[in-house]
């Protein structure tokens, strides 16, 4: 069997095509969003919102509403509660985040356990890429397209929000509104990515690609290309690896992203660990030669 046949083999299964589609859409979306999250310093917020949407998704399932709606409501609820606990106590934000998202997540777990249904807890926690139905795929496609469009069309406002909120305010914009839109998109993206890698690993997809791209460039417009491209590669790599090694798909996708991050961290031409160590050595040598 040659390489092409080997690579084409998984694609002969519909479930594999769906798995790949969902992975790529989720990866690209999360990667785009991660560029802003990493720069604003919202990595923990990404963690919190992606976990906090769980009860929303379960409740939406129970009442038969779209998952995205439940996720949005609980995403905002989480952010409001975090802000509330932070502003009305002497606790720091990380403590507030820790309290709120674990509470909501546990509430979600309890809801799942008492809901008579065929929802498999494991599928929500760890993702269920290989069991994506065509209805799931449609939902991912629609949510993904809407989120993608808003992110791209309003990217300059989001970047200004990340860089200088006071200036945005001075221009008569509402930084609060921009932040709220970004959080809403975070909640929607969490729903998409939940299908792919599960609640626990969503946060990886929301941080690693942006962080990787940030190490590679100091142009934000390039980050917006590099991060999704790397994430899509990692997604494909992960799905294939899980097929051939018969291993957890979500786990493989995130591991692939982490591998790319590690490679960039070590070998990036300008900011990589090895390049900076070598440059420092060169500098010492040339200084010694002068002396």
């Amino acid at each position: 069997m040659n390489l092409i046949e080997l690579l084409a083999e998984p694609l002969s299964y519909t479930f594999m095509i769906r798995a790949l589609s969902v992975t790529i859409i989720a990866s690209v979306l999360c990667a785009l969003l991660s560029c802003w999250l990493v720069l604003i310093g919202w990595s923990l917020m990404g963690d919190a919102v992606s976990h906090a949407v769980l009860p929303g998704v379960v409740l939406a399932y129970i009442v038969g509403a779209p998952f995205a709606l439940g996720a949005l409501i609980f995403g905002f609820l989480a952010v409001a509660l975090i802000g509330g606990v932070r502003d009305t106590t002497k606790l720091k934000e990380d403590a507030a985040i820790g309290i709120v998202f674990t509470t909501l997540f546990s509430f979600g777990l309890v809801l799942i356990s008492v809901t008579p249904s065929h929802i498999d807890l494991n599928h929500i926690i760890f993702g269920n890429l290989l069991g994506v139905s065509s209805a799931d795929l449609w939902q991912v496609l629609i949510l993904g397209a809407v989120t993608f469009a808003i992110l791209i069309l309003k990217r300059k406002d989001f970047t200004l929000y990340a860089f200088d909120q006071t200036h945005a305010h001075a221009l008569g914009m509402s930084p609060r509104l921009i932040g709220a839109i970004l959080l809403g998109l975070l909640a929607m993206t969490s729903v998409v990515a939940l299908q792919a890698v599960g609640v626990i690993l969503v946060v990886a997809m929301l941080i690693i690609p942006g962080a990787t791209a940030f190490l590679l460039t100091d142009k934000f417009s390039k980050m917006l290309v590099i991060a999704p491209a790397l994430a899509a590669c990692a997604g494909i790599l992960g799905v294939y690896a899980s097929y051939f090694l018969d291993a957890s798909t979500g786990g493989m996708v995130v591991l692939a992203q982490a591998l790319i991050f590690a490679a960039v961290y070590l070998f990036s031409p300008r900011q990589g660990l090895i390049a900076t160590k070598l440059a420092a050595k060169e500098r010492r040598k040339s200084l010694a030669a002068v002396r």
Binding site: L39, L153, K154, K156, D157, T159, L160, A162, F163, D164, T166, H167, A168, H169, A170, L171, G172, M173, F214, T217, D218, K219, F220, K222, M223
Partner: protein, 251 residues
């Protein structure tokens, strides 16, 4: 002061009081700044300089009093692009992946459509602003790769590209070399000569007489507002900085 005069004022803060929880940051502070003037805001840390800036910017609603910008409501003034702000160095993320040109371009956002796509006139305004602050050769550098003075000039260029008639600068001379300080001083004088108004909070008292037409002493309220040579006299500074040698001698 009559009403006709009030309409000409660039900044008109009357009787503003601001609290943070139990702490009073501004105590019935009033500040009037005419068009075409440069005004230095002097006071020790915690005297309410930043709070006064935030009040003028409309980021804080005062408990008492009101703020008018060019005779109009601050929100309206912001929407029309009249107000510009140069942040303190500590408030900026210098690792942010943005070029000098892109920073200056954000000054134009208020005049662009909702996707903020730059048109010819926006590029022209940015180029002209970069030229005026002598940063044309550095336009494509990442913002953190400038010297302290160049960084400040980049943000001043953003105000110029915006076409703002009122500029607020928070500690623009901290960590700035003499040459950049001179360039910025010259620029701000030009802005004022063209009818713009500039409010600067600063610790650099020596630079004030060359730069500013007026100085304001702040200690939660405006203690004094007048020509810099007068406001900066030792006995007056003592009022704002809490050192009162006369009083100490007496006790």
């Amino acid at each position: 002061m009559n009403t006709q005069c009030n309409a000409d004022l660039a900044i008109n803060v009357t009787d503003a009081t601001v609290h943070y929880g139990q702490v009073q940051a501004l105590d019935h502070a009033s500040l009037q700044l005419a068009q075409g003037t440069v005004c230095g805001l002097v006071g020790m840390n915690g005297s309410g300089k930043s709070t006064l800036f935030k009040t003028i910017m409309g980021q804080i609603k005062p408990d008492t009093g009101s703020v008018k910008i060019s005779g109009t409501d601050p929100q309206q003034a912001r929407k029309s692009g009249k107000l510009a702000y140069v942040p303190q160095s500590e408030a900026v993320d210098w690792n942010f992946p943005i070029s000098v040109r892109d920073v200056v371009m954000t000054g134009r956002y208020g005049q662009m459509g909702w996707t903020r796509r730059a048109k010819k006139k926006d590029h022209a305004a940015v180029n002209e602003a970069l030229e005026r602050v002598e940063l044309t050769d550095f336009a494509n550098r990442q913002i953190g790769q400038l010297s302290g003075g160049q960084k400040k000039r980049a943000f001043v260029a953003r105000c110029i590209a915006q076409g703002a008639s009122i500029m607020l600068l928070d500690e623009p001379f901290a960590g700035v070399d003499k040459r950049s300080e001179a360039t910025i001083t010259k620029l701000l004088r030009e802005v004022a000569d063209e009818g713009g108004s500039v409010l600067i909070s600063t610790h650099d008292l020596h630079a004030l007489p060359d730069l500013a037409d007026e100085a304001v002493l702040l200690m939660r309220k405006v203690l004094m507002h007048g020509r810099p040579e007068i406001v900066l006299r030792a006995e007056n500074l003592a009022l704002a900085f809490g050192l009162d040698p006369m009083k100490r001698d007496a006790s």
